[in-house]
Chain length 746, copies 2
């Protein structure tokens, strides 16, 4: 460790040897770290290396820190002004930009940015490769603030680095209507923010997805002489993220997959909203992560131990077969004399008085939002550096394109999101004579057909591949040693799976991740699915066993309210195809909607191929599959979705035999139907026809809007039951006979 002996002492003191953290043995990790700045042996790092050397020259010679009992006092004592280096000045700039923005908004979380400013500085100023003027440059390092409430850290860093999305005015409109600096990081608002975080644990799982995408693309497209895919994924997560189950799920997979270029900083500050983490979080995170298979490093002085942080990152980079967790012990709200190391600095503005005291304490004489000229000038190199990095990569790619034409074309499609022309022709089509089949099987036909024409389609199931029917037959398993393959095995980790897919989708526009489980278990991953919708990640959710039709597994496994609950969610497509053509249509829609996730509800049981269904119909969300009336004036409209469309069609046949004029409508996606013109909607569901019966093996909640006050909805407004599917259908009245009876009652 390239540190003075005084640093070593302070480290062990600041490290707070609390027994329950049980990780004194982590110290030797840091001690074993590389003694200086090793130049990376990867290509294209020359610019970064020089900046590293520069930063290393500037690092402060003396660090001070204090024992546990006086940890707050550590923040109180100002660093000696005369020794303030550029690094510390930059770090304090970051702290005060966060303090000032939160203060102006009178809302936000200053504590994390104040504590994590040192690691943030080292990442954005010394370690990461990016182009501020093109936040979408493909080969950039990815950064994820999993502890998203600390977003002012990222905004401050992006501001210093020269991103156009975070100008001074944007900092001043933090958390205001229409600003680019919302209360949590949102990729769709702020170019340069990779993913949308805030809900805890999501970010680290997104980061696993980003790192998976890098490893996958690197394996597919890099050549021994030309590494065109080569970046790190960095994340900062806090105690809150660590407590969330999703983080454990995703981190277990990260180690299983050997994602060596994933480097996560654990902001170990011992404070969460309810106070000291002692009250609810006394596990040894280090031991747990070692059990998961991560490389673990402990930086005991995250407040001023710049060299420790640097050395930890270098060590992490040297471990290529495992992801690394760098536990960085910090003081939340570092610098605030009266609020540091307490929950009061976590999620509220410091208040004018304490801001002033903090300015005094850290020796910061500047006005709010001021960036000192020398700090500005120090950071100004990132714009030319970023441009050079991108230009260098572009040149390399031009060479690659010459040498590896086919791969380059495919790769361009992946990073641009422009699909090969005519891809949709690969989708299968069916006639009423085609054999009856479960839509989960028809889904597998679509997936396998699409995988041949869409190079970015990859995914898998949460340990239900053979039930969800999601295996791509021409590919093997994405694993540590076979990362070029496209079948991802998520294990029984639905929530992690969803968030990992969000990361994959947001890595490159042409990547189309799909993931699968039983429809009812969307409940396990709903938080990730909502973020798919919010952050515009076009994940395809392949959800089989979509109703009581799954039979014997019983009510724990039978969705009831799930269709309604996704129809109610913004910016997500809920699709429930009825047969082969509709399943193909659902996939067409899902692939085309790259900024809107799709949920496909698919049957376990066999369904007939129905006359009248079509891909085009699905694209409209609702359409007529059969009608024996004329003049847009049927006596009765029967409306079904998925497996119940067949029941509606059979009931219509019977009623027509009695001379009734009956229309049958498939309402495969309410959202898409809603988006059609009023004229089209009137042509399908004419206002004058109030005799409407819907049938769907799920809650009737929401159907009133479709059937009107005079219509009747046949559905299930209770939990299901364990029995063979046919029996449950009968007991619950989801039968041709009941549709006919209800229709006649109108």
């Amino acid at each position: 460790m390239a540190a003075s002996s005084s640093l070593t002492i302070s480290q062990s003191l600041v490290g707070r040897a609390i027994s329950h953290h049980g990780s004194a043995d982590r110290a030797d990790h840091a001690a074993a770290a590389l003694p200086g700045f090793r130049l990376s042996n990867l290509a294209g790092r020359s610019l970064e290396s020089s900046s590293l050397r520069m930063a290393s020259r500037l690092r402060p010679a003396i660090h001070r820190a204090l024992p546990r009992a006086t940890v707050r006092a550590a923040a109180v004592e100002a660093l000696e002004k005369t020794e303030t280096s550029m690094v510390e000045k930059s770090v304090n700039t970051i702290r005060f930009l966060a303090i000032d923005a939160v203060e102006k908004a009178n809302s936000g979380h200053p504590g994390l940015p104040m504590g994590c400013a040192p690691m943030g500085h080292i990442l954005y100023d010394e370690m990461m490769r990016y182009n501020p003027k093109n936040p979408y440059w493909f080969n950039r390092d990815r950064f994820v603030l999993s502890a998203g409430h600390g977003c002012m850290l990222q905004y401050a860093l992006m501001h210093l680095a020269g991103y156009d999305s975070v100008k001074e005015d944007d900092l001043k409109s933090f958390r205001q209507w229409g600003s680019k600096t919302p209360g949590h990081p949102e990729n769709f608002e702020t170019p340069g923010v990779e993913v949308t975080t805030g809900p805890l644990g999501q970010g680290i799982a997104n980061a696993v997805g980003l790192a998976l995408a890098e490893k996958h693309l690197a394996a597919r497209y890099n050549k021994p002489d030309m590494e065109i895919v080569d970046h790190y994924t960095y994340a900062i997560l806090g105690d809150g993220c660590q407590m969330e189950g999703i983080a454990n799920e995703a981190c277990s997979l990260a180690a299983h997959w050997g994602l060596g270029k994933l480097i996560a900083f654990y902001d170990d500050n011992h404070i969460s909203i309810d106070g000291d983490t002692e009250i609810a979080f006394t596990e040894s995170v280090d031991t747990r992560f070692e059990g998961l298979g991560w490389h673990v490093i402990w930086v005991k002085n995250g407040n001023t131990g710049y060299d420790e942080i640097r050395a930890a990152i270098e060590e992490a980079k040297s471990v290529k077969d495992k992801p690394t967790l760098i536990k960085v012990t910090t003081t939340i709200g570092y610098g605030s004399p009266n609020k540091a190391n307490s929950y009061s600095v976590h999620g509220s503005a410091l208040g004018a008085k304490e801001v002033e005291a903090t300015r005094q304490n850290l020796g910061w004489p500047f006005e709010p939002f001021h960036v000192p000229e020398d700090v500005k000038s120090h950071w100004s190199r990132h714009v030319p550096k970023g441009a050079a990095l991108e230009a260098e990569w572009n040149a390399k790619f031009a060479e690659y394109e010459k040498k590896y034409k086919e791969e380059a074309a495919e790769f361009k499609s992946l990073i641009s999101g422009v699909f090969p022309a005519g891809w949709e022709k690969a989708l299968p089509s069916y006639t009423p004579e085609s054999p009856a089949d479960a839509t989960r099987n028809l889904s597998q036909q679509c997936l396998n057909a699409l995988a041949k024409v869409l190079p970015g389609l990859l995914g898998g199931s949460a340990d239900l591949a053979s039930s969800n029917m999601t295996l791509l037959k021409m590919f093997g398993n994405f694993q540590k040693d076979t990362p070029q393959e496209r079948n991802v095995r998520f294990g029984v980790r639905e929530h992690g799976m969803g968030a990992i897919c969000n990361g994959i989708a947001l890595h490159s526009p042409g990547l189309i991740p799909y993931c699968a489980t039983f429809f009812v278990f969307t409940d396990y991953m709903r938080a990730a699915m909502r973020i798919s919708a919010l952050c515009e990640a076009g994940v395809i959710y392949v959800m089989t066993h979509d109703s009581i039709g799954l039979g014997e597994d019983g009510p724990t496994h039978q969705p009831i309210e799930h269709l309604a609950s996704f129809r109610a969610m913004p910016n997500i497509l809920m699709l429930r195809p009825a047969d082969g053509n509709e399943t193909a249509g659902a996939y067409k829609v899902a692939v085309l909607n790259r900024k809107r996730p799709s949920v496909l509800a698919l049957s376990r049981q066999k369904l007939a191929q129905l006359p009248g269904t079509s891909i085009e119909g699905v694209e409209k969300g609702g359409y007529i599959i059969s009608d024996n009336s004329s003049g847009n004036n049927p006596e009765l409209i029967l409306i079904g979705t998925g497996s119940e469309l067949e029941i509606a069609a059979k009931a219509a046949d019977e009623l027509r035999k009695e001379g009734k004029k009956v229309r049958v409508v498939s309402l495969v996606s309410w959202e898409l139907f809603d988006e059609q013109s009023d004229a089209y909607k009137e042509s399908v569901l004419p206002a004058a026809v109030s005799a409407r019966v819907s049938i769907e093996a799920g809650t009737t909640f929401g159907w009133a809007k479709i059937i009107g006050s005079k219509g009747k909805a046949i559905g299930i407004d209770r939990f299901g039951a364990s029995a063979p599917a046919g029996r449950i259908y009968k007991e619950f009245g989801l039968t041709v006979e009941n549709v006919i009876a209800v229709a006649k009652s109108l």
Copy 2:
């Protein structure tokens, strides 16, 4: 270890020294186990101890097992018939009851029961204290099959033990309509089943809740001379449960709380639905659990190592300050010559041919569902034993009642669910002159008032106590060393929190667990909440920050579709109170609904106390808070919930100034309103009045049923935004002005 040297060898072979399990050092745990059967030093165990001794006499002298490569062959070789002991005969009875039931149903999961029959036998026949004829006897040991798909294991054990809920006919109607033996364990169908499992990870978290309840009640009611609360909680979880994040959350808390009487068996069989767990699950579970703070024991031969299993349980009981994980390495489908140790035995019937081969292999000449007479006779002691255990406890409690009158009365209320008369009078009431306040604060007033009169009210928040306002001021924190307290600190573990509360609620009818987070984060715990609804656990979900009204945190934190998504869920009450009286009403409803969970959506922002609101109104779900019309014939009905009821009331005031006849309806709970008589509903929302406007800061999805085809719904059908709340309300049209404008447009 009290085992022959041949056993030691076979153990190490069966143990399959796979490097990724990295737990060779666990062997010494087993080696350190107690050499024989130690009599428990806890009271009331005499019967059990004698049964233990009997079982120990009967244990087989020789065990055979084979190295990894021939693990399946291990199942092939039949145990030598002449040495088959009663234990093995009982274990095989369990196996074949499971095989036969699954075969008859042609549906189900034989693999787990076949592999876990030995631990199941030892638990139900040797270790556990229960009364088969009174499954609800308070002081019974609790058993949770977290790997619920293996429910035939539990049904077979309960059948042998003499539970009335699982007679031979029930086994024969496994997974059939109306049977008491559904496809996964369901407490509401099968007395003797403690909780509802199947969705993986839920059960172990329920078990944490059961063990918490035991520790809490023991601390409150036990006396040095009289331990009336004293039972273990046992669970079996599989690889699937271990992968789920919820299990990690709950297990982290179990160790934090020092739940020493929680003993979990990890069925380490290396097989999940997708095949060998190698493909997605290579972490060291042992190391992770040590990191979490558990005591970990590895039983290497779970197939025939009866003594190892017994010794592990005794060791677990001797560790009183930590929960214990007993990793039991088993062979899934043990006994099936061609399907053991493969995924094909996980979730499908073996098929007639393989059933026959398994009968041959295990030397089982009997007809399907046959229980040999000696096995029957062996198990027959559990009925008198259980009766004696309960009688003994009843006698002890009678003594307790004499000595500790007050405690006994309270305790009886807790175990009976009969609340102290007049408890509801403790609820606060408000007048329009009472100060405006956020319903989250009013909720805290209710919680604190109720905690004084309801001894079973306990709960807390997922690290948001000071935001959710859930602290009970007269109590301290439930912690390892202060288990008598009633504020539970869940950390940032929403999913675990919900499932733990299910366990608490199902432990004793008088326990009323509540738990809290931001409303949007119900997405993290929805699977547990759905099981609350399904398993009839009356958990109170205190969900604050219930709309865009939370302001700056932005769309990741702002619920939109959540009200609708719970209204669509069966058997759960969605309550959105508007002020103090409605909040009190919501709590009254929530407390009274012991078999139906309640979700209370509460505001972050201050709300006025409205004229016309009432507890009685809330109990009806929807009611008129003001009206200037007569004859049940207003010109206009404005309908609001929660924070928007105030907007509706103000809009009505304005419209009335213009001479309009306007009714304002609070629709605080759609489910309760639905349950009212048609006459009552007509008195609130007369069919003849079609001019209806609803206002709610959430999706309009579902409102069509209330407002009819001519009404208009004001709501939010997009994601929220980060800005001060007032601004978002205005931008989204949730204003008095807009209500008036929309009303006039009708």
